[in-house]
Subunit: 361 residues, 2 copies
Amino acid sequence: MSVPFTLAVDAMGGDGAPEMVVAGLGIALERHPEARLLVFGDEARVGPLLRRHRRVAACCTLRHAPEVITGDLKPIPALRLRQASMRLAIDAVAEGEAEGVVSAGNTGALLAMAKIVIKMLPGIDRPAIAGIAPSAKGDVVLLDLGANITCDVRNLVEFAVMGEVFARAVLGLPAPSIGLLNVGSEEQKGDDRVRQAAEILKASPIGPQFKGFVEGHDIAAGTTDVVVTDGFTGNVALKTAEGALHLVGEMLHQVFTASLAARLGYLLAKSSLERLRERLDPRRYNGAVMVGLNGVVVKSHGGTDAKGFAHAMDVAMDMVVNRCNERIRAGLGGILFADAETAVEAAKKDPGEGHRLASTG
Amino acid sequence: MSVPFTLAVDAMGGDGAPEMVVAGLGIALERHPEARLLVFGDEARVGPLLRRHRRVAACCTLRHAPEVITGDLKPIPALRLRQASMRLAIDAVAEGEAEGVVSAGNTGALLAMAKIVIKMLPGIDRPAIAGIAPSAKGDVVLLDLGANITCDVRNLVEFAVMGEVFARAVLGLPAPSIGLLNVGSEEQKGDDRVRQAAEILKASPIGPQFKGFVEGHDIAAGTTDVVVTDGFTGNVALKTAEGALHLVGEMLHQVFTASLAARLGYLLAKSSLERLRERLDPRRYNGAVMVGLNGVVVKSHGGTDAKGFAHAMDVAMDMVVNRCNERIRAGLGGILFADAETAVEAAKKDPGEGHRLASTG
């Protein structure tokens, strides 16, 4: 499949921008030569880089953006910078010039702009940030990774629905299983919020795929294909796991440099160790998707390198090529449950019909 | 230092009880031969085990407990079982017969009983579960690990104070640094709850040790000695990290059995790899302490083995030998800030004097 498509790229976001971004585009375009790119950034800085990367330049249109959104800028002042590279890239999606946008810049600003400019899918209360993490049974979709610090019952239910569609489209699973993150797997565990969300999901159309509560260790175990939680917990859980893996990586480095015998041991096991390193390479999981929006919005880690940025580009390209947002839109229709508690009551009174996900799509 | 002390032990809690418990006591007593133990359990099952472990038997008094609290029993019905091994062990602490209690049984029941029977330290609103985790810079104290699913500003501030004293007493740090877990390190990040708690802590007597917000990856990085969060987030974060470490362990096993060369490599690096395995061994971190209670209460992981249970015993013994609870009591005095929001207002109006931790101790 090589249907051409266009992505907008914020060339100025991220610690190593714009050099890292342009180098990343070079890697990504090798895998997706059919992609057309609208690159937004400072012409004086990005122009010379593109002249050096001829192959990238051939797929790109560079548009000058006189302003840059720095990493520490809060969303409200960021929204005023209408000539910033990030903003112009988002505008391109809103105006239909591009099908998606990739940025390694300020997450808060990107999310706020995307919500206001690109807007939400019909019926969605709030978008979530979804990411992919490694597990013993393959990749796992985790959301929300921090778009929403506080979430109510409705948000959690919506995240589950969006995560399910995301896992079908991006991981290619026919009927992904879903777990709701909690402090225990028993029904009485957790607060009212997660218990109510579980009741609604059980009675919903995706009820058969809903496996109830999962715990922190179930993420890496791959107990379910999708793990749903609020943005505070999801953000902390993901970063805690990343930190633990980084620590082990450092320790393994020490192990294999501790003695001559250990160095030799490393050489002997090198090919399998390299495969392990590749499998857990954070760059392989770079590219969090803001789901629930009316366009593909991918956030790359700000501290990543060209390889990591290329992976975020891959995610955006996969989303577009697999028509993921259309599938999300179709899967969601328009969720119109007015009040989660009412829905719980309805589910209790009428367990046969259960909770209604009134689809208007 | 070999001042004799007495600990109460619930012999019937945990997946491998009572065999696992008695074997664990054998290991723990080698390190603390001065300990006296009151062991509560089914005489018909524990008696024969003690007769086989003569050295353990010599330090133990076995008291028959006709009832057992199972793992799935909810706290309220558990509280009715007044002849359960867990309950009788807790009663021994409340009655001054033992200075602490160790159980690998039902966490919810243990916490509920401890709160009601042993009671809270003066001025403390709620106890927290504190644990120790490995980091790049040594061990880190993490709390709350799940005693409180929802926490308010006051709880978070109290956890910080308790965690600080715990780190001083158990890790032996003169002035442990403290971080409040959040989704970013910038001041504007997170919800009102964490922002208010941070303001109170900044203006509090432990203000100089308070380093502000930390993120998930800061736990394994050892950015601060103490990491404070609510019980939902703390529980998920700890289990997520454990899951990630377990996954890497499994993958390393695969790496070193993948080929003959890799097997040989393992043998060459074996001694350093074994040190790494020992350093990250979950059993080494077994034994979560319920801090804020009027006695030492240690919860062992239910699925642990004798070595892990022995470590939980060590933690309890260290708490008692280091007079940890007296130090917590002295450090806390009686926190009497009536209303966290009022305290924040006071801190804003009078930044010089700031928030009062009115000590009555």
